[in-house]
């Protein structure tokens, strides 16, 4: 009977010692990157604490029973080891304070659907990805145009949006805002394809000058200088084509004298009007 009592007592002591040893270091209840993290320890005497984690490998003498304070800047999972016993704990990213904003493309035609894309990656002040859902505001505005504004909730540290380009050409301010932090990108909105392309002809001493009206897109934005306009003259003698660049909003070409000819105009895939010169139809 007494032997059983001794054995039981021994088992209880062994278990108590095991539990005490296992509890040498405990995980902090809540840890945020950039703040001091406090690891409670238990027991007595000195021991070596090892901490492994993102950007971190610490070997430190500690007094058991004290709280050990560590400045941990990186978010992620850590392992703390004392006397061969390990606890794991997570350090969360702090509030977002840094935005990586990708805006594409840098130039885009005006008045097109879903052509401007913005992607935001959210980081805290120690460059940890902030994975908790966070509201992100996207604003797109061209001076004198209709502003667009959208709210998106980030997911796993990323927020993404697609926007239409505005009707008005010009440098668009594309802004992503998280809390009080804003980042701006500029997207150049250019005139779209020409709209209502029209030509008229006037005789000159060597033949004919064919000239467009001011070339604009359907929203009334002037098509940029340098855009090529093709003027084609078709007569019973054959066909001749001139590629003229828009200069100060107008494209112009000098043609030889023509008899019974049709002159047409095009820019890219857009066709303009036709005129008949030199008599006949």
């Amino acid at each position: 009977m007494r032997i059983i009592q001794y054995a039981l007592m021994l088992a209880i002591c062994w278990f108590a010692a095991y539990v005490a040893r296992a509890a040498d270091v405990q995980a902090p209840s809540h840890a945020v990157a950039g703040n001091d993290v406090s690891l409670p320890t238990s027991g007595s005497g000195n021991a070596t604490l090892f901490v492994f984690g993102p950007g971190t490998a610490i070997k430190k003498e500690v007094r058991l029973g004290d709280h050990v304070t560590l400045p941990l800047k990186r978010a992620g999972r850590y392992s703390a080891i004392v006397n061969g016993e390990q606890v794991q704990f997570d350090v969360a990213a702090a509030a977002p304070s840094d935005i990586a904003f990708l805006a594409r493309p840098s130039r885009v035609p005006a008045d097109r659907k879903d052509v401007i894309a913005g992607t935001v990656f959210l980081f805290d002040n120690n460059h940890n990805l902030v994975t908790s859902p966070t509201p992100v505001k996207f604003d797109l505005m061209v001076e004198g145009g209709q502003p667009q504004s959208r709210h998106v909730q980030s997911k796993d540290g990323v927020a993404y949006i697609k926007l239409d380009s505005g009707r008005k050409a010009g440098p668009a301010q594309f802004v992503a805002t998280v809390g009080a932090k804003s980042v701006k990108r500029v997207v150049e909105e250019t005139a779209s394809d020409p709209c209502n392309l029209r030509i008229h002809a006037t005789p000159n001493k060597d033949g004919l000058t064919v000239e467009t009206d001011p070339v604009k897109d359907c929203a009334g934005n002037p098509v940029p200088d340098g855009t090529i306009v093709t003027i084609t003259a078709t007569s019973p003698k054959g066909r001749s084509t001139v590629d003229a660049r828009i200069k100060k909003g107008i494209a112009k070409a000098d043609l030889p004298p023509l008899q019974n000819a049709t002159v047409s105009v095009a820019a890219g895939v857009v066709m303009g009007n036709e005129i008949h010169v030199g008599g006949g139809m």
Partner: protein, 175 residues
């Protein structure tokens, strides 16, 4: 010179075979990565990008495992960039200063692409990895365990490969 010809040929064959064995060995040393791109958007992941991501992520883990077990920061530059590179270099430096090491036995990754940016320069992934981790102080094993870890990963396109920009351990994500 004529007599030496066959010997030179044999030497060349031996060198070529050795090189092939070394390359094949290196390739087979990479951890197993199963990549699923079905949930990625808004841009669909191209086949070639999928293969490149799978290969480059495996390489990155291989480099990280070498860096942390041998305390060699130099092997990280080819596969990591930005925050992830800084973080790993800090860890290697701190391990070096304290005589510590971390050894991984990598049992494979289930990698899922969740976001691929419209211009194709950045991809976000979730990784669930099965690992055996050993922490060492000199040659003494401090602790060893099998564990499943979840990572949030951001990879960005580099000059000739995808590089890991963010590698952050995360709580398990619901399926």
């Amino acid at each position: 010179m004529k007599r030496l010809g066959p010997y030179v040929l044999i030497a060349l064959v031996i060198v070529a075979c050795s090189w092939w064995i070394v390359v094949a060995q290196a390739a087979s040393d990479l951890p197993k990565v199963d990549l699923n791109v079905n949930a990625a958007g808004p841009r669909p992941v191209e086949d070639t990008t999928e293969q490149a991501l799978q290969r480059d992520y495996a390489r990155a883990w291989s480099s990280m495992e070498i860096a942390l077990s041998q305390n060699r920061a130099d092997v990280l530059d080819a596969d990591f960039v930005g925050v992830a590179l800084d973080e790993l270099k800090d860890r290697v430096n701190q391990q070096q200063q304290s005589g510590l090491h971390t050894r991984y036995v990598d049992h494979g990754h289930k990698l899922q692409a969740v976001f691929y940016s419209p211009e194709g320069s950045a991809v976000q992934l979730r990784d669930t990895v099965q690992l055996e981790v050993q922490y060492l102080d000199g040659d003494k094993v401090l602790h060893s365990e099998q564990r499943t870890e979840n990572y949030t990963v951001v990879m960005t396109a580099g000059e000739n490969r995808w590089k890991v920009r963010v590698l952050q351990a995360a709580a398990a994500q619901p399926e």
